[in-house]
């Protein structure tokens, strides 16, 4: 039966309150069985300090709301069991993202902008026909896309990334993952060359310093570095092709090729 006295040292700051200055506040509580950081923080808010800001929605590692630095490492607070932590627990907000207050950061705005930048939607010129059967797709292709679609936009990878800390316009491993997801999808008409401007630069694949932190901290275990390497190869090839024939590889031809490999 776990029964330690827990000490939380929590970053506090409310940027919208002119009286507030960043500080660390200490909370203590008795450990109870099967407790997660979600349970512990909720208890602190209800029993000790109702002003404490943090974000949870699903409390089951599905919604990506609750990433924070737990003893210095980015992770989902809801999937962090207290019994696996020492009794002194330091909690800080994720770096890189704008602070909303205390442990809450504005990942939503950053991810929406990322989505706009990579045009995170299916580019398809055919209008939807409500009377037609669905277009067929091999189950393997669906599975592959699903694997690349599993990101929950928690921000751990960006918070851990050295390149992002020095370059605020860096797309992040997650942005590149998103591009790989649409490049793999046979329903999307875009070709490699269509992504070159967004990702074939220092803000994308050529800005990555390859220290793998993103992958180490991704709570969904997505193979981010594999995706970055895949994109880097594609982008290197695209720049090669465009310098040899003066333009990017023809989108139509590439799309046909993508559809073929997918089927």
């Amino acid at each position: 039966m776990p029964n330690r006295k827990l000490t939380f040292r929590v970053f506090r700051h409310n940027p919208y309150d002119p009286q507030s200055a960043p500080r660390v506040q200490k909370y203590e509580m008795q450990e109870t069985p099967r407790l997660t950081l979600y349970g512990a923080l909720t208890r602190i808010r209800e029993e000790q300090d109702p002003s404490l800001q943090f974000d949870f929605v699903c409390r089951s590692a599905i919604c990506g709301s609750c990433a924070m630095l737990v003893n210095g490492r980015p992770r989902l607070a809801c999937r962090t069991l207290i019994e696996q932590l020492p009794s002194r627990i330091n909690l800080f907000p994720l770096p890189f993202f704008r602070l909303v207050g205390d442990l809450s950061v504005d990942t939503g705005t950053w991810f929406r902008e990322m989505g706009q930048r990579v045009e995170s939607w299916i580019h398809d010129s055919e209008p939807f026909d409500p009377d037609a059967l669905e277009e067929r797709m091999p189950n393997d292709t669906a599975q592959t896309i699903y694997e690349l679609d599993r990101c929950i936009e928690c921000g751990c990878c960006v918070a851990a990334c050295g390149a992002a800390q020095v370059n605020p316009t860096y797309l992040g491993a997650v942005g590149m993952l998103r591009i790989a997801r649409f490049l793999t999808d046979p329903r999307d008409d875009r070709a490699d060359s269509d992504f070159f401007e967004v990702v074939g630069t220092e803000d994308g694949v050529f800005g990555c310093i390859g220290l793998l932190a993103c992958e180490d901290y991704c709570p969904k275990g997505i193979s981010l570095t594999t995706q970055i390497a895949y994109l880097r190869r594609k982008m290197a090839l695209t720049s090669l092709r465009s310098s040899s024939n003066g333009k990017g590889a023809s989108a139509g031809a590439q799309h046909a090729e993508k559809a073929k490999t997918a089927k």
Partner: protein
């Protein structure tokens, strides 16, 4: 004041689908949401989305008619049959459209396939690559389309991507606190910015409530912790919009303790046992035939019954029971029950291969909500609409079929979006923008005063009242209900309603302070809790998830009707009215499952 054609409150599947329909018809839409859209609770749906595509061996011969029957039976004849018909007809199109938007639906792989019970079926070559489906409780055919183990996630991401594509404005971290209206027409809402704590008014020609379920009123719920029913309560606050069937609340037998994370039916489907504090397997004592495999409602009720007899395990987090899957073996558990295994290991620190898992029945779905007509127009207030779990469109009656609610969000979003577009084109009547500005000013002022009163400090603490409210619901308005206890619940909740007028803050209340948010929500939550208890007390029958121990029969003679609750501003008590349920194709009959008997019209004739 921010002006827009349409204000959509809620960015889950229902809200976003509505917004997409309108934006693609050229209307200006703003979505507001407590959280970034992709964090909405819709992402948590894992099981699937019902639509009669008929692509699997086990769905051969499926049709919209059979889906209709399953839905009506599931609802225990409480649903609106016109709505159910419209829904089943549109669900296949809805699924296919999301496929075009990028959802990686799992697909049919032809060839023989062995099912868990040993039966071997042949998936057809001609169906190769079409959208696959899986089995889900309460359906005759396999009909739940799924994207691996993340149906809701994949749907939400695809839907949100379309809102990006259409350039729909989303204001996240924003909470609607009051509707702007004059008792006849709705003109938008007053919203609190959850980053700064500031209030702002949105003026809209049409306003949509798509705020999801109210699960968190019950302390123990599988719902996301933001599902507090505020959208329903701001509609109720108008005094003219009724909430339908609030007493209809669905429970799930296996939420884990603590945390209330849902573990799927599969744990019982594959042969898991439920044990009591003596590690005795008790389900066969109550249900010798079906044991743990009886329907959701039945298992939940038996669990509560057994805990009430004193066989629950006492814990810091209240009484619970055990789920035991150890006998299924390490390989089966880790391969076939992978999700359940990771929930137990990651969120409880319990390895289900070696240990038993603490579970108890947990609130899961709210069938009740803002009462609308088939086009999604809210009763009582022109210009107000509702869609998704926040609404009582009434597809689900007294019991929602698994997989029908995700499908409902997408279908209803489309239907409601279209009807708003029509209303704005043809039915829009002119009004004075000046008058609206004054109304918006008044409403903002009213909310501001509520905040000032909280800061001035009443004696009640928000989390104390909240816990008392949850306990009353959980203990007295749960899976089993009976008159005396419901009466107690009604009395206690009436008192909590009064006490919730005297909330005071313990913190400064400056900026985006979460205590202010909680304190602003609580009085509305207590009113919803009251409606649930009051509706349940008055409904002297058992229907679907509403199970009265003192009235164990479904009573079609007196109760083939829907509860409508209104609450006049300032009144101590709500008023309940009833409207008939529309029966068009399928007269009331036997569900063929569940334990409640039917008091049918014929019996009355004979008697």
């Amino acid at each position: 004041m921010i002006n827009t054609d349409v204000l959509v409150i809620g960015a889950g599947l229902a809200g976003e689908r509505t917004a997409i329909e309108l934006a693609s018809q050229g209307f200006q839409v703003i979505i507001i949401s407590l959280v970034p859209p992709k964090r909405s609770h819709s992402t948590a749906a894992q099981g699937g989305m019902q639509a009669a595509l008929g692509n699997m061996a086990k769905s051969q011969g499926d049709s919209t008619d059979i889906h209709f029957e399953d839905t009506v039976k599931g609802s225990d004849w409480g649903c609106d049959q016109d709505v159910a018909r419209l829904f089943v007809n549109l669900a296949p199109i809805a699924v296919r459209q999301t496929a075009a938007w990028g959802v990686p639906w799992s697909r049919v792989e032809p060839g023989p396939r062995k099912l868990p019970d040993g039966e071997v079926v042949q998936e057809l070559l001609e169906k190769e690559g079409l959208i696959a489906a899986r089995d889900f409780g309460g359906t005759k055919k396999w009909r739940a389309c799924y994207a691996s183990d993340g149906t809701g996630h994949a749907l939400v991401y695809a839907m949100d991507n379309v809102t990006l594509q259409l350039g729909i404005e989303v204001h996240d971290r924003a909470e609607a606190l009051a509707l702007i209206h004059d008792g006849q027409r709705c003109y938008g809402a007053v919203v609190r910015d959850l980053r700064t704590g500031e209030l702002r008014a949105y003026h809209a020609r049409a306003t949509v409530i798509a705020t999801g379920g109210h699960g968190r009123i019950y302390g123990h719920s599988t719902n996301g912790i933001i599902n507090e029913g505020t959208g329903m309560s701001i509609a109720l606050d108008t005094g003219v919009v009724p909430l339908g069937n609030m007493e209809a609340v669905q429970f799930h037998p296996t939420g884990v303790v603590p945390g209330d994370i849902l573990i799927s039916e599969a744990c019982r489907g594959d042969g898991g046992y439920l044990l009591d504090k003596n590690e005795h397997r008790f389900m066969p004592d109550y249900e010798p035939q079906k044991k743990e495999l009886a329907s959701r409602d039945v298992v939940s009720r038996r669990m509560v019954q057994h805990m009430r007899k004193g066989f629950g395990v006492e814990s810091t987090y209240g009484p619970h029971l055990w789920l035991d899957i150890r006998h299924l073996g390490k390989k089966h558990i880790e391969v076939n029950l992978r999700e359940i295994t990771s929930i137990c290991r990651d969120f409880l620190g319990v390895d289900p291969v070696r240990k038993i898992v603490p579970v108890r029945p947990t609130q899961h779905y709210s069938m009740g909500g803002v009462r609308t007509n088939i086009a999604g127009r809210a009763h009582g207030l022109a210009g107000l609409y509702a869609a998704g779990e926040a609404s009582c469109w009434d597809l689900h009656g007294f019991n929602r079929l698994g997989g029908n609610s995700v499908a409902e969000t997408v279908v209803a979003g489309t239907v409601v979006g279209k009807s708003i577009a029509r209303d704005l084109e043809w039915l829009d009547f002119p009004y004075s923008e000046q008058a609206v500005a004054a109304m918006a000013e008044d409403t903002t002022q009213m909310v501001q005063e509520r905040i000032l009163r909280l800061r001035a400090g009443g004696k009640e603490y928000v989390y104390d009242l909240r816990n008392q409210m949850s306990n009353v619901l959980m203990e007295k308005v749960g899976v089993f209900r009976k008159g005396a206890e419901l009466q107690e619940a009604v009395d206690e909740l009436a008192e909590l309603c009064q006490r919730s007028k005297h909330l005071g803050l313990r913190s400064s209340g400056v900026g985006a302070n979460p205590e202010v948010a909680a304190a602003l929500r609580l009085p509305g939550m207590v009113r919803l809790a009251f409606l649930i208890a009051y509706g349940a007390l008055k409904r002297t029958e058992s229907r679907g998830s509403h199970a009265r121990e003192d009235y164990p029969f479904r009573d079609d003679i007196h109760w083939l009707k829907r509860t409508l609750a209104r609450w006049a501003p300032g009144a101590d008590l709500p008023t309940l009215d009833y409207e008939p349920v529309r029966i068009t194709e399928m007269p009331p009959g036997d569900r063929g499952y569940g334990e409640s008997k039917v008091l049918a019209v014929e019996e009355k004739v004979r008697a």
